[in-house]
Subunit: 424 residues, 2 copies
Amino acid sequence: MKQPTGPRNAFYAQSGGVTAVINASACGVIEAARKHPRKIGKVYAGRNGILGALTEELIDTGKESSTDIRALRHTPAGAFGSARYKLKKYEDNPAQYERLLEVFKAHDIGYFFYNGGGDSADTCFKVSLLAEKVGYPLQAIHVPKTVDNDLPITDCCPGFGSVAKYVAVSIREAGFDVASMARTSTKVFVLEVMGRHAGWIAAAGGLASQKTGDAPHIILFPEIAFDEAAFLARTEECVKKYGYCAVVVSEGVRNKDGKFLADAGTRDAFGHAQLGGVGPVVAQLVKDKLGYKYHWAVADYLQRAARHIASKVDVEQAYAVGKAAVEFALKGHNSVMPTIVRTSNRPYRWKIGMTGLDEVANVEKMLPRDYITPDGFHITAKGRRYLAPLIQGEDYPPYEGGLPKYVVLKNKPVKKKLKNAFVV
Amino acid sequence: MKQPTGPRNAFYAQSGGVTAVINASACGVIEAARKHPRKIGKVYAGRNGILGALTEELIDTGKESSTDIRALRHTPAGAFGSARYKLKKYEDNPAQYERLLEVFKAHDIGYFFYNGGGDSADTCFKVSLLAEKVGYPLQAIHVPKTVDNDLPITDCCPGFGSVAKYVAVSIREAGFDVASMARTSTKVFVLEVMGRHAGWIAAAGGLASQKTGDAPHIILFPEIAFDEAAFLARTEECVKKYGYCAVVVSEGVRNKDGKFLADAGTRDAFGHAQLGGVGPVVAQLVKDKLGYKYHWAVADYLQRAARHIASKVDVEQAYAVGKAAVEFALKGHNSVMPTIVRTSNRPYRWKIGMTGLDEVANVEKMLPRDYITPDGFHITAKGRRYLAPLIQGEDYPPYEGGLPKYVVLKNKPVKKKLKNAFVV
């Protein structure tokens, strides 16, 4: 591949579910790129992720002030729009990939920064392979992001630490609430959190419990088949011992037959599938079988958008992987991803590493069984050692009038150059 | 009533649903009392609110360090336990009231500080009347608290401002999230908030929307009968105009027949009442009728326990009413409640006022109709002027290891003096 001499443009896109800190990665990419005008010309962002490349809806981030780009660091969600859109296999839809290269050529894109999880890493890898195959000079770098914490090689994933902190803080606070109400009112509180495939987020709730009796008393993981009798026995034990019981349940909890508890065939009077999530199902079970008054909460998007309580470590790592992606590209790397490498637990120390996308694509990192206690209801000391550093530090956004001051970019479109539209 | 000369003891209790700042009021009471050892001896707290007085389970707050008492200011929920326990009318259960006085006499309680909402104000009033009637020297002062913001006379209620801030921050953050996902995924997001009788909390969500197009786009109030067709039309309009629609719904929303939407007769396959709240009901309706992908969250206790994002104004007012209660008592007042008096909107200024409990007991302050837009879906400029100051300022708790450092008191019991137990 020939090394171009003049500056070439960069394409940056956000992919999949957004997080409290994915914009901090965008900030890292754009600020780093702006420091190298002789190598990187414009940074174009895809409007709504990869769709923006396919439809040639590019955003010129050069029109944004350095103040606004800086403000991305403290703004949650995807400033350019994200997309849940998985490219098909090359063989199944070569036109998609060819279109990407066509758009890249039209706008002299020499750098492809793709900010997402496992699926996106796979897309980034495929784009890189295709570019190489057809001889189009492109450096494709994946910027890791996912609240699910399931990317391999990297010690953790930007986005996860902030959800982890939100969940741990929330269950601690709700635990204090229930403890004070339990004598005459609510005895069991259930908080449903994200994590359809893996229990990383639910596990993080366990950090709030630092000594016996602290909330949460029970964590229900997708990795552990739900054992109703054992769960009820533990709940009752907690209420008798501590006066109340606080439960964190992952949305992905399944029964012994592998069915989601939240989707165990329950229907409302109109035949609709159960409206509630697993939180209300578990809470209702407690009421029916033990008779305790309950409350439940479903955090849903609040947990991953909660920039107001983001982990400082997470913000720093999100920024750092964005910045590193640009630096890797400038050093001539291709088809790689910056990783977080943990070098010490106490004090927590980390540095940026690098891995090839072939190592990342389509590999899911599961929650190790030894992070979960043998009884399946809590996290072990080992799990705690891994998780605790990731929620360290606060990184409050600025406030105005009592509300966080998040930036909305101008998102000025780049003039289209291609005549043919592409329908996605 | 004779004025005793030596120091007499104080009784303090927390009542009803707890808040992010009720402990700040406790802090205000205890710190103020400690400054007047010649007038106030011990401050005894009721374990689990008024139950603690009935069962003579008193907590000696004198055993707590000044550091721990100070930490109450940043600790959510009820440090001594609260109770959902309404005393009957005197005529229906005189024994309860007589027992209270018996316990007060046994422990030389000369000051009764009761921290709660409307029901508690009524109890406080009745205790005061009874003491006067039987010639027992007692100064009964009510300390206002309620996330529902429904106490009369006072401009606002400590506890409300912090829930208001949590809801406004959360819907802003979730709005950013949905906006970035809407192109290929979630188009409608529904956040269910508290407020079974009045829409104060839902209204506060409206603060997040500062210009056209900002989330939330729709607020559903308990004061406005749910109009399905109008709601669906507005939702569709928002999605077409802004790409997405963010909804805040009060748990107390009712249909035209006055039935809670969350309890409109839906049953699951086992005949259980609908598990979900109104949030999932509204979200499912959108899906069924408009076909949009949705997400919903139910904040439940998280919203009232969220000390991590408490309003500074609220914390200051909660502390101030606690302090004022003691000062009122020392000035010889009885059967009164400190109030918040708003003296200016911009800049927001307030001072402490005082009202008689006869004015407070059994009066509910409703959300004025002119705080809600004529179409019933948002707040007016007038509503905004009232609400905006209450969420001003941040008052972060200290953190340790990434988690807020909330205090758990020793709660040492006071030795019982009465021989007879009292069954509640």
